[in-house]
Amino acid sequence: MIQQIDNPVVEVHDLMVSYGQNPVLWNIDLTLPAGALIGILGPNGAGKSTLIKSIMGLIEANSGYSRIFDQELNQVRNRVSYVPQRESVDWDFPASALDIVMMGTYHHLGIFKRPGKKEKALAMTCLEKVNMKAFANRQISELSGGQQQRVFIARALAQEADIYFMDEPFAGVDMSTEKALVSLFQEMTAKGKTVIVVHHDIYSAGKYFDWLIMLNMHLIASGPTEQVLTEELLTKTYGGKLSMLTDIGELIKKSDFNPLKS
């Protein structure tokens, strides 16, 4: 069940990505609607993070391409925001929560310019939206996992983008915070923004998202939640990797070069 739409905000065309010698995504071809809260579902190692990293140009694709707002990523970077996984950074870095959120204003500032009062005010409003205003001056390593996650989301808000890619924003977050974040995302999509979230809890996915992408190294489904969340598709997604894809991956890993790289 892969539903393609007209005038998509994101178009992924025949995308193939490897990590080193290891192919992780096979021929992903999908389109996503504007103003939707979109979940990417799949088991560990299914390539969920890889998909958004590749769309964000952080990993080079072997073949295929992706477009945002029908343009190259570089043309629309100011309208796109990316939230990396919380574990991907060293939180012992000497900075306060406010410092980190201010980083969200950097790309509007351009090189050489320092953030000023306006940027600080924006960062404070964003911290307030995730209920972290009281922690603005706290050293980031003193924050709990859930609070660090909220700092990352506040930084994304400070980018004032139209489309948000979030890698596991609910990891290490308690239930009440997760609910608050979901309603924040729903507010954003109601205003026409698109929020794409890597998620792995199938039970809450049905409640949270308007649109679901199901992934297990290849695309299993992409469509409105109520049409996609079926037992058949879930079994396909979570019922183990396609053994053929794993075997081929192993074969490529052992060879001296990656034949998928053009």
Binding site: K53, M56, G57, L58, N74, R77, N78, V80, S81, Y82, P84, S88, V89, D90, F93, P94, A95, S96, D99, I100, M103, Y106, H107, L109, I111, F112, R114, P115, Q139, S141, R155, Q159
Partner: protein, 430 residues
């Protein structure tokens, strides 16, 4: 003392030149080093500082004199080459980066020593003092050197200030920096070049190998004093300046004393003091906090013993009985009794210690926390009543009033603990 006044009054233009030179290079090294340290590239800095030696020697060999332009170029080329080789080998083989760094570092340094030994055996008088480049000699800086090294250092400082926010976001979170469209690859190349340049500026004054210390140690010491990047940069610069100038002074005052080792000694001393005495993260602070905590535990236990007697209807305990509860800890017990006395929690009269009213409230609070926690463990964590005492013994000292009221609410304001002892409450509070 005469030396001291002569040096620090800067009446000698040569001394002034040396101080200006060493200050500029200390500032640039500390600034680059702060980012190097935070980016966990300290080992690369070490490799560069070894790898500039063959460049210096080759420059000597080709030019036949100590022309600073040649030396800087030679040092920069082999220094940069080493970083390039390290990243190339790590990317294209399965060798771990630290292995590659160790190998590249020793190969370059070994090569440098071979060339230097060869050069010294030619007996060319123009080549005397070549070994200054190993341990550094700030006093040998002349006007021509200052111009070259000073301009280099100033360039480094300005570039870091210009790209402060870009380097900050790149070091903290590379993928985010890339996602907002920063040219991360080019910034990284720029930063690596700055790192090589920072080492190169110090080769004459500090020496090739020891520049690694001037790069990393100020930042490592500064991290103990602050948790903001801008302040960390300033503190690192101050530490670096102090050690640079002191090092230069010592090699001025004591003839034939090399500068580099003294700079490193002063720096290490600063780092050592930071490690021990930093207000937030120092070893001493942690030690004092731990000792205070242990003292509090001991006082709490005395209060609990007195409360136990009170529960049985006794009016206090004999002083010697209290000492007997804690065998071998007489000194500690006496200290705690004095402390509790001062706080007004207990009174001592004719060798009998009694709880005062406030002492009773405090003792009740500790016992209450102990029993509430025991009850929580049996009710919510399904732990047998005879297994809960040890944990409660530890947690009774740290549970905050907020947690206490939460426990109370969760347990629905219980009357007794799992051992059927009454949970003591303060009649004044509802």
């Amino acid at each position: 003392m005469e030396d001291f006044i002569y040096f620090f009054s800067f009446q000698d233009p040569n001394v002034l030149m040396v101080v200006v030179g060493i200050s500029l290079l200390s500032i640039s090294a500390a600034m680059v080093g702060t980012f190097t340290f935070l980016d966990k590239k300290a080992l690369i800095g070490d490799a560069i500082s070894h790898a500039v030696l063959p460049g210096v020697c080759l420059a000597f060999m080709l030019s036949g004199n100590k022309n600073p332009y040649w030396i800087v170029s030679g040092a920069f080329i082999t220094g940069a080459l080493s970083t390039y080789i390290i990243s190339w080998i790590s990317n294209y083989t399965k060798l771990k980066e630290d292995t590659v760094i160790a190998a590249v570092l020793s190969i370059f340094f070994g090569l440098g020593i071979v060339i230097m030994t060869q050069l010294q055996q030619t007996g060319n008088a123009a080549l005397s003092g070549l070994d200054h480049f190993i341990f550094g000699n700030a006093i040998s800086i002349v006007r021509k050197d200052l111009l070259v090294y000073g301009i280099l250092a100033l360039t480094i400082i300005l570039v870091i200030l210009f790209f402060y926010k870009e380097f900050k976001v790149m070091v903290f979170n590379r993928s985010f920096a890339q996602s907002i469209g920063l040219p991360v690859k080019r910034l990284e190349f720029l930063f690596n070049s700055l790192m090589v340049l920072a080492v190169v500026t110090g080769i004459q004054a500090i020496g090739v190998v020891l520049m690694a210390a001037l790069l990393i140690t100020p930042a490592a010491a500064a991290k103990f004093w602050t948790d903001r990047l801008d302040r960390m940069l300033i503190i690192a610069v101050v530490f670096s300046l102090i050690s640079g100038i002191v090092g230069a002074y010592i090699s001025f005052a004591l003839p034939h004393m090399p500068t580099g080792p003294w700079v490193v000694i002063v720096l290490s001393l600063i780092a050592f003091l930071s490690f021990f005495f930093s207000v937030k993260k120092g070893v001493l602070t942690k030690w004092i906090a731990k000792r205070n905590y242990q003292r509090k535990i001991h006082s709490d236990h005395i209060l609990k013993a007195l409360f136990g007697a009170w529960e049985k209807g006794k009016q206090g305990l004999k002083t010697e009985n209290i000492f007997n509860i804690f065998p071998g800890k007489n000194f500690k017990t006496q200290y705690s009794i004095n402390k509790l006395n001062k706080k007004g929690y207990i009174t001592e009269n004719q060798s009998i210690i009694k709880l005062t009213e406030s002492g009773l409230t405090e003792a009740k609070r500790i016992v209450r926390l102990h029993r509430l926690w025991e009850l929580y463990m049996t009710e919510y964590m399904n732990i047998a009543p005879d297994h809960v005492h040890d944990s409660a013994e530890k947690l009774e000292h740290i549970i905050t009033p907020e947690l206490e009221s939460k426990l109370d609410r969760n347990l629905n304001f219980p009357k007794a603990d799992p051992h059927h002892s009454i949970i003591p409450r303060d009649p004044k509070k509802p």
